[in-house]
């Protein structure tokens, strides 16, 4: 092993420290919410309707926290994932289906527009699904009740790439968000949209890179599109 004078180790230690601080900050939020809702629920057990609603919110908040911790573990040991031909539209539909209860509980909607032409990307089904879940979760807090969060896919660069996007119609993000998204420092992901998961975006970028893909974003006057680009599969598949 080459000796790097300790600078590589120091950088790694700095990143780990940074990551643990961000993770600790981000996990505090759902845990604090669960605790508050549980305390309120205990004081209102006779109100069945309210208790039922609080329990649903507790369940969905716990699921979100668990997703984050599972992804965090996975992001730190990304070896061994197999690249395979995948159908991004199918994965978008799976993600929309999985997140519909969470969106409904916020009186919001998530949708996947119909697409006739089938596209096949090279990636990993599990990682792409988690990337899209993180991006959709990020969009959840900024979506408007009038306009659903939309998952879609298009081909780019003369059919060499597939871009899978998550579009929301909330407040836009600061101009330097793309720089932050490309940063090695997890803490730089935090200040973009505080209620969203900066950690989720960091994890999404790590997963995208593990699939030789790229995470990016477009700022709109009425929201943001976060996307992942993956290479197109040239194999004929039965997907």
């Amino acid at each position: 092993m080459d000796y790097d004078g300790g600078s590589g180790q120091a950088a790694r230690y700095g990143r780990d420290l940074d990551l643990s601080m961000v993770a600790s900050h981000e996990l505090k939020e759902p845990l604090a919410l669960i605790r508050q809702l549980a305390l309120e629920s205990r004081g209102n057990l006779t109100d069945v309707e309210l208790t039922e609603r609080l329990l649903t919110q507790i369940e969905l908040t716990a699921e979100r926290g668990l997703r984050l911790t599972t992804d965090l573990t996975r992001a730190e040991s990304l070896e061994g994932f197999i690249a395979e031909p995948i159908n991004p539209v199918q994965i978008c539909e799976d993600v929309a289906h999985e997140l519909t209860p969470l969106f409904k509980a916020h009186n919001l909607a998530i949708e996947v527009p119909l697409r006739r032409r089938k596209m096949t990307a090279v990636g990993n089904r599990t990682l792409l699904k988690q990337v899209l879940i993180n991006l959709a979760d990020n969009a959840l807090h900024y979506a408007s009740a009038d306009t659903p969060v939309r998952l879609s896919s298009v081909s780019k660069e003369s059919g060499k790439l597939i871009r899978i996007s998550v579009r929301d119609y909330g407040p836009s993000v600061p101009a330097n968000t793309l720089q932050r998204l490309e940063s090695e420092s997890p803490s730089l992901f935090l200040p973009t949209r505080p209620q969203s998961s900066g950690l989720g975006l960091y994890i999404a970028r790590r997963f995208a890179e593990a699939m030789h893909g790229r995470l990016g974003l477009h700022r709109h006057h009425d929201g943001v599109t976060f996307y992942i680009e993956l290479p197109v599969s040239t194999q004929l598949t039965l997907l």
Binding site: E29, A32, L39, E40, G43, T61, H106, Y142, P171, Q195
Partner: protein, 122 residues
């Protein structure tokens, strides 16, 4: 205190709703908004008695809102309660010039703490 109005600025909607229920159970009125810009609009439109807010907000953060409030002679008299999960890193002494009268820790507080804090600053 039937017309006593608390403005809540909290971008976690379920937590904001939770505060609204606590405040209404105490017999007061509550208005919830999820960002600092809406918060300023509400402060202009309504006669607010107490502001309950998080410091980390989408868009301009809570500090920007506190600065804005301090620049208006009528708004800088409204007591502010910060409810945050960064309470251990905030010093009330540094925040009091910005109208902050109480800091509650989201991680440790119980529902009664919010109502008690409002009663103390009102």
């Amino acid at each position: 205190m039937n017309d006593f109005l608390v403005l809540i600025i909290e971008d976690n909607f379920w937590l904001g709703e939770h505060y609204v229920r606590l405040i209404e159970q105490a017999g007061w009125k509550a208005v919830l908004c999820d960002n600092a810009l809406d918060g300023i609009d509400r402060l202009d439109d309504l006669s607010v008695d107490v502001v309950v807010m998080d410091i980390f907000l989408a868009g301009p953060n809570g500090i920007a809102l506190l600065h804005e409030m301090q620049s208006h002679a009528d708004l800088n008299l409204i007591p502010v309660i910060l409810v945050t999960n960064a309470a251990d890193r905030l010093d009330l002494g540094n925040l009091s010039p910005y109208g902050v009268r109480e800091v509650l820790d989201k991680v440790k507080m119980v529902p009664e703490d919010l109502v008690a804090a409002i009663q103390r600053v009102a």
